[in-house]
């Protein structure tokens, strides 16, 4: 891979690695005696590792000029592998966390292995590790294909991908050592946050630079979503993480905001992390890989416009539905509820657009597990957005909030939508990237599909049950007008569902392992066989301009 860099690019890569190593050294010295110092060592080793890697190939011959006539896909390939690696790690931690709620002593007598520290390893591992890497990898692919432009250089995409993974490693190792701001999905501390800003701005500029080179006059729908994902996540991240460190030698900081303002900012962030990371980004995937795999154009261009701007505008109002009946002023709660309900319109427009695109290709859905992953993802997207709008209604929320119903809702979206669309897209993408006609084993894709679907259904049903039972037990009165159940009685009632969830989650994890194996074997197969050019399958979806999106046109 390094041999494909020009000598000048190798030099920039060396300079960047040295810069990272240097920052690691500073962190190590300034933070000695603090966890910041440990992170300094990790950063230093990371920088030195890449320095060695580039140096070892430094004297290889220059790549031929002819490379510029092809898209640059090496970062996408590495991103796919990283994504699957994080999937297995993140979901393993998910199963462990799930098991701890049924068997609380299934762990070591050590801080790093306790529930509160490994839970964020799960959430960040799957959202940022698995989801984020898949988004970066597919965005590079989609961007080049839909603009018919090569990425502008060969160092920036590596900086984005590797820098992002450094952030993920710092985040996950930090949680195990007890470094956290406690803000959900924004747990990493100030220095990791600053680093992510650098990486993210570079990512955004890379996107823009490629768009400026495009040979297609119109920017394709998938790119609208990827752009919204990159831009809005940057804004959310910067505002929600404003904080004052206690010193530059310490990992600890205090959030700039407090109390009710902090709560509103956090859930404005938290809910829109769902909206722009877990929804917009993956809709970008959906809008490219689903039509591509089905061999059909997007059903309606007009629906795409409505749903895109609807989502971009309305989601940002919805965060306060996380704070119903709290000390947040009621007018903000009401705004949040109203927008959350109306949000169903653009959400269903997207889901409907995806499903209608499959019209005329249902036989493919039946036969092709990869396409079926994407179809089921669209269905779960529709279901969980419906559920979300419903749960945002104050009266419903009074029951569902604080219970497992929320967790069930999250995973209907996370497993059913995010993970399924990712697996579907990766299964479509892998053979193109490694230039083989098909994945190593379509049978294993089929096996994975059923593992994933059954795991999701078991998980979601278990949490619906436990959540609703919990909510009802907390608010049930007996005839004498006093509360009928003590809290611990509700804890005991959850146990069977927690066991069921662990089983469902294990099936889902098993599926992810099968996927990782299948992709690994595909890569090996490609290596052994040498390259067989498959020709035109990986060309842009749209032959002409965006206008060709509608079948009638």
């Amino acid at each position: 891979m390094i041999a494909t860099l020009t000598v000048a690019e190798r030099q920039s890569a060396i300079a960047l690695s040295m810069l990272v190593a240097f920052f690691g050294l500073i962190m190590m010295i300034a933070g000695s005696g603090d966890v910041l110092g440990v992170h300094g060592v990790i950063v230093l080793l990371f920088g030195l590792g890449f320095l060695g890697l580039v140096m070892s190939k430094y004297f290889e011959p220059e790549p031929p000029q002819e490379r510029l006539t092809r898209y640059y896909d090496d970062p996408t390939k590495v991103g796919i592998v990283l994504s699957l690696g994080w999937a297995v790690v993140g979901m393993f931690f998910g199963v462990w966390v799930a098991a701890l709620l049924a068997w609380p002593d299934l762990t070591l007598d050590a801080g790093w292995a306790s529930f509160g520290r490994i839970r964020p390893v799960h959430t960040s591992g799957v959202i940022f590790g698995f989801g984020g890497n898949a988004l970066i990898a597919t965005s590079f692919h989609v961007l080049q294909r839909t603009t018919r432009a090569r990425l502008p250089d060969q160092v920036t995409p590596w900086f984005v991908l590797i820098g992002y993974n450094l952030f993920c490693v710092i985040a996950a190792s930090g949680y195990l050592m007890g470094v956290t701001q406690s803000k959900e999905y924004a747990e990493p501390e100030w220095y990791a946050d600053l680093w992510l800003v650098v990486v993210w701005v570079t990512y955004f500029l890379l996107y823009l630079r490629t768009l400026q080179r495009r040979k297609e006059p119109h920017i394709y729908v998938a790119n609208w979503y990827y752009m919204a994902f990159i831009l809005v996540v940057a804004v959310l991240h910067i505002v929600n993480n404003l904080a004052v460190p206690i010193s530059f030698g310490s990992a600890k900081s205090y959030s700039l905001f407090s109390g009710v303002q902090d709560a509103m900012t956090q859930w404005w962030y938290g809910h829109n992390a769902v909206a722009f990371f877990l929804t917009a980004g993956f809709l970008g995937m959906l809008y490219y890989y689903l039509p591509k795999r089905a061999g059909r154009p997007i059903f309606s261009y007009r629906l795409s416009i409505i749903s895109f701007w609807g989502i971009t505008f309305m989601y940002m109002w919805a965060g306060s539905h996380h704070l119903h009946y709290t000390a947040l002023p009621q007018w903000v709660q009401t705004l949040g509820m109203t927008f959350s309900v109306v949000l169903l319109v653009p959400s269903w427009a997207s889901a409907g657009n995806a499903l209608a695109t499959l019209n005329g290709a249902w036989d493919k859905v039946r036969d092709d597990a990869t396409l079926r992953f994407m179809m089921v993802a669209a269905v779960f997207y529709g279901l969980s957005t419906f559920e979300g709008s419903f749960m945002a209604i104050r009266a419903v929320n009074s029951l569902s909030h604080y219970t497992d119903w929320t967790v069930g809702h999250v995973h209907a979206g996370a497993l059913g939508w995010v993970a399924m669309i990712t697996f579907g897209s990766l299964y479509a993408l892998v053979p193109w990237m490694w230039k083989v006609e098909r994945i190593y084993s379509p049978k294993l894709v089929e096996v994975h599909f059923w593992l994933a679907l059954s795991g999701t259904i078991i998980y979601v049903f278990a949490m619906w049950n436990s959540g609703i039972i919990q909510g009802l037990m907390w608010r049930t009165y007996n005839d004498s007008g006093t509360l009928a159940f003590s809290f611990i009685e509700s804890v005991v009632a959850m146990r069977p569902y927690y066991i069921a969830r662990t089983v469902g989650g294990s099936l889902f994890l098993l599926g992810a392992i099968v996927a990782a194996y299948n992709v690994w074997m595909t890569i090996r197969m490609a290596r052994l066989r040498g390259v067989t050019e498959t020709g035109g399958t990986d060309e842009p979806v749209l032959p002409g301009a965006g206008a060709a999106l509608q079948p009638g046109e």
């Binding site: 709560a263 940002m316 804890v491």
Partner: protein
């Protein structure tokens, strides 16, 4: 017409970027900015006090261990919650909480009004092994809190950073932070009196973990748990006024 406009927008990357920023920016601005300017958002509570250094250290351990993932600190304005946990939470009660720990999941009960509910010894036993006290509990064990000495040397920096984000710590509080942390858990030491002077007579001064000589992370966590809901009486006053 509209479609025509959009076709044009799609041809201009920078225009598209600006449109996204504008369209997505409105919601957050309208909902968040007024919370800083409308005075009624946070009630007045003249008796509201700040966390002592030991309580703040305990709060940081609470964060570090992820207790917030299972416990909320926000009692909603619903009858059953008020009857189960106490008067509903007011905004002013978390005015000095950078960040807030309202929580979003109740695997365990809400603990916004926990202070004074149990003895220190109960908390110590419960944190070392919850199942010794509540056999059916699924809460993790936190034995190392008793084993780890509390790090106090940088508490002054913690208070200074808190002041930078708006918590009214005085110079004297910052200068004496480490000694005050020690004093709060060692009632017989000379440091204890300075603490009461700075934070008020009502401050809990006890050997929270049952061992006066040693300052452990357990001391800090229990000191924090015992102050939950007791930084101000505002919520109880309001509940009493509403009851009349």
């Amino acid at each position: 017409m509209r479609e025509f406009f959009h076709r044009k927008l799609e041809r201009n990357a920078i225009g598209f970027v600006l449109a996204i920023i504008l369209v997505s920016g409105i919601g957050g601005f309208v909902e968040i900015a007024p919370l800083f300017t409308i005075h009624e958002t946070v009630e007045d509570a003249p008796d509201m006090r700040v966390y002592t250094p030991l309580e703040l250290a305990g709060r940081n351990i609470y964060t570090r261990e992820g207790c917030y993932a299972c416990h909320s600190q926000m009692i909603r304005t619903l009858r059953d919650e008020v009857e189960r946990y106490g008067p509903y939470s007011l905004a002013v009660e978390s005015k000095y909480d950078h960040p807030m720990l309202w929580g979003s999941k109740r695997t365990g009960p809400d603990i916004a009004r926990l202070g004074g509910k149990y003895s220190d010894a109960w908390h110590v036993a419960h944190l070392i092994n919850p199942r010794d006290v509540v056999p059916q509990s699924v809460m993790p064990k936190y034995g190392w809190l008793m084993r780890n000495e509390l790090k106090t040397d940088d508490l002054g920096k913690h208070l200074a950073a808190q002041r930078a984000v708006g918590v009214p710590y005085t110079d004297a509080m910052i200068a004496n932070a480490s000694a005050d942390a020690y004093g709060q858990a060692s009632p017989d030491s000379p440091y204890a009196s300075g603490l009461s002077e700075r934070y008020g007579e009502a401050t809990n001064v006890r050997a929270f973990d049952g061992e006066p000589g040693r300052l452990t992370e357990m001391d800090a966590v229990v000191a924090y748990l015992q102050i939950l809901g007791r930084l101000t009486d505002a919520a109880h006053r309001q509940a009493a006024a509403a009851g009349k």
